[in-house]
């Protein structure tokens, strides 16, 4: 029941899930990390402890090279954005979500600022500066951009000041249309909704300067002699916020989260006898 459309530029531009179709653009962006001064106190570097972007967010690429693979159970769009950003967008016949399966890295290290990569999902939902992130994978908490419930906020860091931990889920709602979009992640990440109708989640970063908060080294993880290559998934689901037409989006999200966080285990046994002997 899930489907997505891809534009001429190779990017996803609409999705249909749980009977609801919305415009949804997805692309990868990056921030350059801030480089501090020598004392790293007044002007502190972006690093392991703090996310401090230097300048505006930029697109990794305006377009992706895309190919599609269609089976009886699975349909995939395979996107290559550049040398270090690729993604498979996948639907199958049984799930009420669309999987965005990204592979990022090795992030180049030729720029002193470092690169902090996010995946951004943009819709036309009217969200009024409000979004929801979970706390410890349990309770969804209401977040309002540039606002704290306990004090008057003067936000001097427009991006990172609106980033929150996303343990398992981030969601936005259009109360008038009664539509909710949720992104479930397969690991704890940081993210937020910096513009109405948008969700962005940071998925990989290198920070080539220590932020002087204690780790004492730059964040530039290596494996096999080069920068780390990571793979992971976001599961996007969309649905009605009311129960009127059957299962609510909350119930659907809970079902997905349970099946991802307590996924079925797969065991393999090589068969050296006949199938009948095995049985």
């Amino acid at each position: 029941g899930s489907a997505f459309k891809i534009d001429d530029n190779g990017l996803v531009n609409s999705v249909t899930i749980n009977g609801v179709t919305i415009e949804l653009d997805q692309n990868f962006y990056y921030y350059n990390g801030f480089v501090g001064d020598n004392s790293n106190s007044d002007k502190r570097s972006s690093g392991a402890y703090v996310f401090r972007p230097d300048g505006d967010i930029k697109k990794v690429s305006e377009q992706a090279t895309v190919s599609t693979v269609e089976g009886q159970l699975v349909f995939e769009a395979r996107q290559q954005f550049n040398d270090y950003v690729s993604q498979t967008v996948r639907v199958n016949t049984i799930e009420s979500y669309i999987e965005f399966d990204w592979i990022i890295g090795p992030i180049p290290t030729n720029d002193p600022n470092g690169i902090e990569i996010v995946s951004r999902y943009s819709t036309k939902l009217a969200t009024n500066g409000t979004f929801y992130t979970d706390s410890n994978g349990k309770e969804m908490l209401k977040r309002v951009r540039d606002y704290r419930p306990m004090w008057d906020l003067k936000n001097s860091e427009s991006a990172s000041g609106n980033y929150y931990p996303i343990t398992a889920k981030i969601a936005i709602k259009d109360e008038e249309q009664g539509i909710e979009v949720a992104v479930l992640n397969d690991r704890a990440q940081g993210g937020g909704s910096l513009n109405d109708g948008e969700v962005e989640i940071m998925i990989h970063r290198n920070c080539l300067h220590d932020d002087a908060f204690g780790v004492g080294e730059a964040l530039n993880e290596q494996a096999f002699g080069q920068g780390l290559v990571i793979r992971g998934s976001h599961y996007i689901t969309v649905g009605s916020t009311s129960d009127d037409n059957g299962e609510s989006i909350s119930a659907i999200e809970k079902d997905i989260a349970q099946r991802k966080l307590l996924d079925a285990w797969t065991f393999l046994t090589p068969l050296e006898t006949t199938i009948e002997d095995y049985k």
Partner: protein
């Protein structure tokens, strides 16, 4: 319990805020990986023993299963690498559901190019897809695999806190079987 305690202890260590937030030094991150891998390997014996008990109880033929079935995990399946699925002509896939309700699961296994058949416990042939692995996955640094494709099938209605098994065979082993095999018993 020693094997289980090793994993408990490592999970305790990984509750440290540096491990949770990723603010540990690189060599500490490497050590976390080392400890976790070792503990998971040790626990494989426990999961295998526990699941063998379930398998034994569930045996529908009434025969007691005297031999312990090896149940292996493929921890690198996330980069489409698994020695068993890519090198065995015939193998059994056992899916254990840790939830207290039945689930459907799309099973994905790395395999070599070829024709495959997947049978459920009743001997029914399932719908499958065998799709080529994209180059950006095949070229992930450190991946050491001869798999060129991913095999997909749906494990339907895996019972709560229970299991289902499926038999995967490549076309080469199918040809061999067609000479000697008969249809599975109706009660198996």
């Amino acid at each position: 319990s020693q094997e289980l305690n090793d994993l408990r202890e490592v999970m305790g260590v990984l509750q440290h805020h540096d491990a949770v937030a990723g603010t540990e030094k690189q060599h500490v991150a490497d050590d976390y990986s080392r400890q976790l891998q070792r503990a998971l390997n040790e626990c494989a014996n426990i999961t295998s023993t526990a699941l063998n008990k379930l398998l034994s109880v569930k045996s529908s033929t009434g025969k007691s299963v005297s031999e312990k079935l090896p149940l292996n995990s493929c921890l690198l399946a996330n980069v489409s690498q698994c020695a068993i699925s890519e090198n065995s002509d015939t193998f059994v896939v056992t899916i254990y559901n840790p939830l207290s309700r039945a689930v459907n699961k799309v099973v994905t296994l790395p395999v070599k190019d070829g024709n495959y058949d997947v049978l459920d416990q009743d001997g029914n042939s399932l719908t499958i897809d065998v799709l080529p692995i994209p180059s950006y996955v095949a070229n992930i640094p450190g991946r050491a695999s001869s798999a060129t494709h991913d095999l997909y099938f749906v494990a339907e209605d895996v019972p709560p806190l229970g299991w289902k098994s499926f038999i995967v065979s490549s076309s080469q082993s199918n040809k061999k079987k067609s000479i000697s095999s008969s249809k599975p018993n109706s009660d198996s």
